[in-house]
Amino acid sequence: MSEKKPNSAVHYEKDYLSGDELLELKQTLGKALNLSDDDFKKLSPEVKNLLSGRRRLGVNWLDDYEVVAEVIEDKGCNCGIKKGQIAVFDMRHRLKVEKSDMKCCMNILSPVLAIFYMSFDRASEGLNPVSRVWNHFDCLVTNDSLAKEKARVKVYLRDAKSHKIITQPVLDPIE
């Protein structure tokens, strides 16, 4: 049996953000999220990673973009969701009701949360916040058709103002 000690299951063995105090973000974030100096010291590397996306994509990236879940199939749906309808989220995964026209059925919208688990991580790497792999989601209700007929959505990123769809894999910071 190997005598090598297992890595910590909590944090990465090599954490390049461990000494990063997020100084240029501290004042803004502290005020917005009611974080004291002690709170800042408690931030895990994972959360620092989450917050550091601003360095790559610009300080306003959370407001510059939005995520759209567009219905691409509605057969078998009993909630009234129709093909072509959309649900729009801001980058903080808040539903923008004023820009959405689909019924807010939680059985189809809940799976979309996974997009936002990836979006902060991808932003911290300077990538397009929406995954190019995991961008199709379907309703959580299987139905008698054994999942052949159910509502499905495709998720994409768009500019919050122009609504231009953004597919480039690496984004340029917006100045």
Partner: protein
């Protein structure tokens, strides 16, 4: 989806606790759903954060199932739910907790 569900019931998730929530969800704000599991934005007062809404979704199925069986809609074991963010002390950022209730309209 179950058929013939009563239309005069709504499921309400009331925020009982909020700490460092990046979406500024505050205590006593609400998320309101119909019995089919659809969010009713016009009746909800909280910011519609998917991090807590997705957490509530299985409970909506549970409540719908109980209504379908003709028993008390709210299961006693599923009164409180918290959001997917693990919170500042546990590797996350913020934490929101809600209490579920079923109300007649």
């Amino acid at each position: 989806m179950a058929e013939n569900l009563p239309k005069n019931l709504e499921i309400v998730a009331t925020v009982t606790h909020s700490r460092h929530c990046a979406n500024f969800i505050s205590e006593n704000e609400t998320f309101v759903f119909d019995v089919n599991g659809c969010l009713l934005p016009e009746k909800s007062s909280a910011n519609l954060c998917l991090g807590i809404l997705a957490r509530i979704q299985p409970a909506l199925l549970n409540i719908q199932d109980r209504i379908n069986e003709g028993i008390e809609p709210l299961p006693s074991s599923l009164k409180f739910l918290d959001c997917f963010d693990t919170g500042l002390d546990f590797g996350g950022m913020g934490k929101v907790t809600v209490e579920l209730s079923v109300e007649r309209t």
